[in-house]
């Protein structure tokens, strides 16, 4: 018994010594959505540079609180902060990867991509105004689909999430009623429907309830082969949720005109743009007490922008367009150390 304890102690000491030897550790906390790709990047980057990234996926809200309290080197949020909030806290933000939200349905006999939905119809369904699948408003945009007279069961996320923020922001953008009555947030007062916890909770409820409609992250919908709906984009075309169409939305966006990169990629122009697209963001303080850590963080993301695209795509995230990356690198000059010099060039 004693021997085991001693051995365990020795092992622990050795492990601690190892960590100490590597020394360079940066810490981040926040959004769960990009956590898999950050972990993948960190793993590859560690093998190259020895830098250890300690990222805690505690949720965007937690990430914002932690970076405001300066307990981490960077925070991560699926919901960009408005420029005035950034300024008030001395923060700056930049996007890393793009994802999207996909409406999924459970209708017997309907194949993935066979049913079409527009923003206005989706908002009406989630407001509880359109309650049957053969509602005239749905029939009109689906002339070739045989829609059953089945009650629509609305499923939404029960936990506060960036996915809900993007989805409700889109509904608020497309439907004035939604904007006035419900609004956009990572948790809202849903007029109707049942709440599932997480993407898996929503997916399970949709799969188990005939006539259900829900929304999940793109990666989740793709990996689980869910029955997605086509959406109408700003150009009027019907588009499918594919990596290509998310990239189109990101490419068409006017990042130059967005102070603090405050930009939701909703309803972007372009014939292929998927309308419910959004980036996930990194938050950092503009004035850094520890210039070395800030340098390491930016070096890590610089590396990830250059070399991380394949890993991101493999995990069903969409990399940022190259011109946007160039803009972000320029914005990094605003992050200064104690001496007032940019920490990373």
């Amino acid at each position: 018994m004693l021997k085991t304890i001693l051995a365990a102690g020795a092992g622990l000491a050795a492990a601690l010594a190892c960590t100490a030897a590597l020394a360079a550790t940066i810490s981040g906390a926040g959004a769960t959505f990009p956590a898999p790709v950050y972990a993948k990047w960190a793993e590859t980057y560690k093998a190259r540079s020895g830098l250890l990234l300690n990222y805690q996926a505690i949720g965007s809200g937690g990430g914002i609180k932690q970076i405001e309290a300066k307990t981490v080197d960077f925070g991560a949020s699926d919901k960009p902060l408005k420029p005035d909030v950034l300024a008030a806290n001395g923060l700056m933000q930049f996007p890393t990867v793009v994802g999207g939200v996909v409406p999924v349905v459970n209708l017997p006999g309907i194949a993935p991509g066979a049913i079409r939905l527009s923003g206005a119809v989706l908002a009406d369904i989630y407001r509880g105004v359109r309650t049957f699948w053969d509602d005239p408003a749905i029939k009109v945009i689906n002339p070739r689909v045989k829609l059953p007279h089945a009650r629509i069961t609305v499923v939404h996320r029960s936990d506060g999430s960036g996915t809900s923020f993007l989805f409700t922001s889109y509904l608020a953008l497309k439907a004035p009623h939604w904007a006035k009555e419900v609004g956009a947030n990572d948790a809202v007062s849903w007029p109707v429907g049942v709440g599932g916890k997480g993407n898996d909770g929503v997916a399970a409820m949709v799969k188990q309830t005939p006539g259900a409609i829900g929304y999940v992250e793109y990666a989740y919908a793709k990996q689980n082969r869910m029955i997605y709906a086509l959406m109408q984009n700003r150009a009027g075309g019907w588009v499918a949720p594919t990596a290509e169409n998310f990239a189109a939305a990101a490419a068409g966006a006017k990042w130059q005109a967005a102070p603090g990169f405050y930009l939701l990629l909703l309803d972007q122009p372009g014939g292929k743009s998927w309308p419910i697209t959004g980036a996930t963001f990194i938050l950092m303080h503009q004035k850094q007490a520890n210039a070395q850590n800030a340098h390491d963080v930016l070096a890590f993301f610089d590396w990830a922008y250059k070399n991380g695209n394949p890993a991101a795509q493999q995990l069903d995230y969409v990399p940022l367009p190259e011109p946007v990356k160039a803009l972000i690198r320029k914005s990094w000059l605003k992050i200064v150390g104690p001496n007032g010099q940019p920490v990373y060039r």
């Binding site: 948790a187 429907g193 399970a204 309830t209």
Partner: protein
């Protein structure tokens, strides 16, 4: 408190102090520290819940408990939905679990053949050790589809329009909701109540039971009129233990209750509990008032649990009538 301990039962003086006597004050100190640390941390919890929830409590006042609008966009928070949901699910879970737990305990102590006793007893204790996330997942992926197909749909279609059954069975029949969450909760608290009841029943002196049988009582009469009343006071403690767990259960409930902040409309309708609301929203709550409201919810749960335990104490203090 130390003075009281010192003054009671003075040890008889010996010529030389017994071995290890020097350790006594240390032991006493450690025990005292353990007890006070518990009390202090409990006090700390209450104080920090009060401080954290204060902005919400002052803003909404009593309306926080009586209104059921929970709108993070307009920053209006009323917790009646989660509070009612917590009380209903816990009460239903207790009603469902108690008879079964009583049956399990009575069977194990009175009727079970010796070779089965240990197997069933261990199984009951194992149930208590299953993590709640497992119950939640099982509830969502296995129980909910079954419940929807074989309980909710038949009941809903059998309910005559305008009847009580119809108003009870309102909701979406997808296997999640108030009743489904109560059943999962009942399964979760069952082993705690059953195990405690079994211990209590084992402690009933054989003479009591044998005299009853000797007077010609049937098995049911012995259970209902002799052994169960004999352990009644302890049983209240067991029930309160289960209820306390049901009130605070988070993960399993979150998965299957449907998570709507409105007042539940029927047994199959979505609802929420205090714990599930906190679990759902705390990580992503960014506005100060949202966070404060969630912490105030925690304070309400604390008050409910405290009341339940205090009631149990009161019941235990009453003299046993036999």
């Amino acid at each position: 408190m130390t003075i009281a301990l010192n003054s009671t039962a003075p040890l008889p003086r010996r010529r030389s102090a017994p071995r290890g006597a020097g350790f006594e004050p240390v032991f006493e100190g450690v025990c005292f520290a353990a007890a006070t640390a518990l009390l202090a941390s409990l006090g700390g919890v209450v104080v920090s819940l009060m401080v954290g929830g204060w902005p919400a409590l002052t803003r909404f006042g009593f309306g926080f408990l009586t209104t059921s609008t929970w709108d993070p966009v307009k920053e209006v928070y009323g917790a009646a939905g989660p509070i009612v949901g917590t009380l209903i699910t816990s009460a239903l879970a207790l009603i469902l679990a108690l008879p079964v737990a009583g049956g399990v305990a009575f069977f194990l102590v009175e009727l079970c053949p010796a070779f089965l006793r240990r197997t069933i007893g261990t199984a009951v204790e194992l149930l208590a050790g299953i993590p709640s996330i497992v119950y939640g997942m099982w509830g969502l992926f296995v129980f909910a589809p079954f419940f929807s197909q074989h309980v909710e749909l038949p009941l809903m279609s059998a309910a005559p329009p305008g009847s009580l059954l119809e108003s009870l069975t309102q909701g979406v029949p997808n296997g999640s909701g108030i009743l489904a969450a109560s059943i999962i909760l009942a399964i979760m608290i069952l082993p705690f109540i059953a195990a405690t009841l079994r211990e209590l029943l084992t402690a009933v002196p054989p003479q009591v039971r044998e005299s009853a049988y000797g007077l010609g009582a049937t098995m049911g009469e012995v259970a209902m009129k002799v052994t169960l009343p004999y352990v009644r006071r302890g049983a209240i403690g067991a029930v309160m233990l289960g209820l306390g767990r049901a009130l605070g259960e988070t993960m399993a409930v979150t998965f299957i209750i449907g998570n709507s902040h409105d007042l539940p409309k029927g047994l199959f309708a979505s609802g929420s509990t205090i714990a599930s609301t906190i679990a759902n929203e705390f990580t992503e709550a960014t506005s100060p008032l949202h966070t404060a409201s969630l912490i105030a919810l925690g304070l309400v749960l604390f008050a409910i649990t405290f009341t339940v335990l205090a009631l149990a104490r009161l019941m235990l203090r009453q003299p046993a009538r036999l």
